[in-house]
Structure formats: structure tokens, C-alpha cells
Amino acid sequence: MTDAALAWGSLLIETAGALVIGWYGLRALAALASRAPIEAARLLMIEGVVTGLSLKLAATLLKTTELGGWDAIGRFAAVFALRTLIKQLFVWERGRLSARTQEVANT
């Protein structure tokens, strides 16, 4: 019973994360269509991936209850590590990119 509820919750959160990424992707395309700079679109995309990945990390954690076998645990660990790593990467890139945009605006 609890397991089923957790699985459903995980799936819902996972889908919410996917929708967030899709939504920001659309916003990035819309920004490009209105002739915004490429960096603005990239920042939007980064924002979406960071937010979506936060949701997806939460969903991954909920799934720990239904892990069976070393193979499933290994894949869980790999996905979790990869998502954390990519999120850190995007956060770092966002800092660098916004610092540069600020620099250009100041000069």
C-alpha cells in the first residue's frame, strides 16, 4: 500500500520535473524567436534543467523503497550520482554565464 503510494508519488514528481524542463525549453525558444541574445536562452535552459533535476532527484529518492537486487541498486546509485553531478555542473555554468553577461553589460 505504502509502496504503491510512494511509486505513484515518485512518478508524479518525475513527470513534474520533465514538464518543467519542457516548459523552460519552450521559453528559451520563445526568447530566441524574439531576438534575445543566445546567452539569455542558455540561462533559461539552465534554469529549467536545474529546477527539473531538483524535482527528479526527489523522485529518485522516493524510489529507494522499491529497489530489489544489486543491479537495481547500482543503477539507482549511478542515476543519482549522474543527476547530482549534472546539476552541480549546470549551477557552476550558470554562475559563470551570468557573471560574464554582467561584465558585458558593465562595459
Binding site: W8, L11, L12, E14, T15, G17, A18, L19, I21, G22, G25, A28, L29, L32, I38, E39, A41, R42, M45, I46, G48, V49, G52, L53, K56, A59, R75, A78, V79, L82, R83, L85, I86, L89, E93, R96
Partner: protein
């Protein structure tokens, strides 16, 4: 439950399509600008200094690079979406490989842009000193 997986896969395909669109448009733009540059050069070679010609070419190249960085962002997002649907070791490995590739490309691209900017700033400074 299948409907959720379907939504995710659908979003992943859409994001990938956006990346392909960005790459295609950026390539067309770069080709058009390169051709225009080439025709321009052959019409008035004497007026165009070596530096100006080199700068213009570099700008076309760097602009294409910036577009590609954006496209890679889209593709990475699509891969993140795909891992949600029962990830196999194969898919996890592919995502890791793409993340590494993308980071490396971004790193070198950023270094190239920094170097080009530093060169341009140096030239401006040199021009001012020569004029004074």
C-alpha cells in the same frame, strides 16, 4: 502509469527536435555570413585590412560555437528526460558520455571566446597608443 512515461518520452523528442532546429538554423546563418564575407572580400580587398577580415571570420566561427553550446544544452536536457524511463546501464553510460563531451566542448569554446576578446582588447589598446 504508462501515460506519464509517454509524456516524458514525448517531451524528450520535442527537446531534441529543438536542438536540431537550433543547429540547422545556426549552420545556415554561419554559411550565409561566410559566403557574404567571401564575396565582400573579393570585391574590395584593398580596403579590408588583414585584422578586420580575420576578426569578421572569427566572429562567424564564435557565433556558430555559441549556438552549438545552446543546442548541447537542449540535447542534455533531452537525455536527462530519457533517463527517467527505466534507465538501462547503456542509457546511463550514454548520458554520462554526453555530459562529459558537452562540458569539454563548452570549456574550449569559452576559452576561445575569452582569447578572441583579449586579442581584440589588445588591438584596441594598441590602436589608441599608435594614434596618440
Amino acid at each position: 502509469m504508462d501515460i506519464f512515461k509517454q509524456i516524458t518520452l514525448w517531451l524528450a523528442s520535442g527537446t531534441e527536435l529543438a536542438a536540431a532546429l537550433v543547429i540547422a538554423l545556426a549552420t545556415i546563418e554561419a554559411v550565409v555570413r561566410a559566403v557574404a564575407l567571401f564575396l565582400n572580400r573579393s570585391v574590395r580587398t584593398p580596403n579590408l585590412s588583414d585584422h578586420a577580415g580575420h576578426d569578421a571570420k572569427e566572429e562567424v566561427r564564435l557565433k556558430l560555437g555559441r549556438w552549438l553550446a545552446l543546442a548541447l544544452e537542449f540535447e542534455l536536457a533531452a537525455d536527462i528526460l530519457r533517463t527517467a524511463v527505466a534507465p538501462t546501464w547503456n542509457e546511463i553510460g550514454q548520458l554520462a558520455a554526453i555530459a562529459v563531451l558537452r562540458t569539454a566542448l563548452n570549456f574550449f569554446l569559452q576559452r576561445e571566446i575569452d582569447q578572441a576578446e583579449a586579442r581584440a582588447a589588445k588591438r584596441v589598446a594598441g590602436g589608441r597608443a599608435g594614434g596618440a
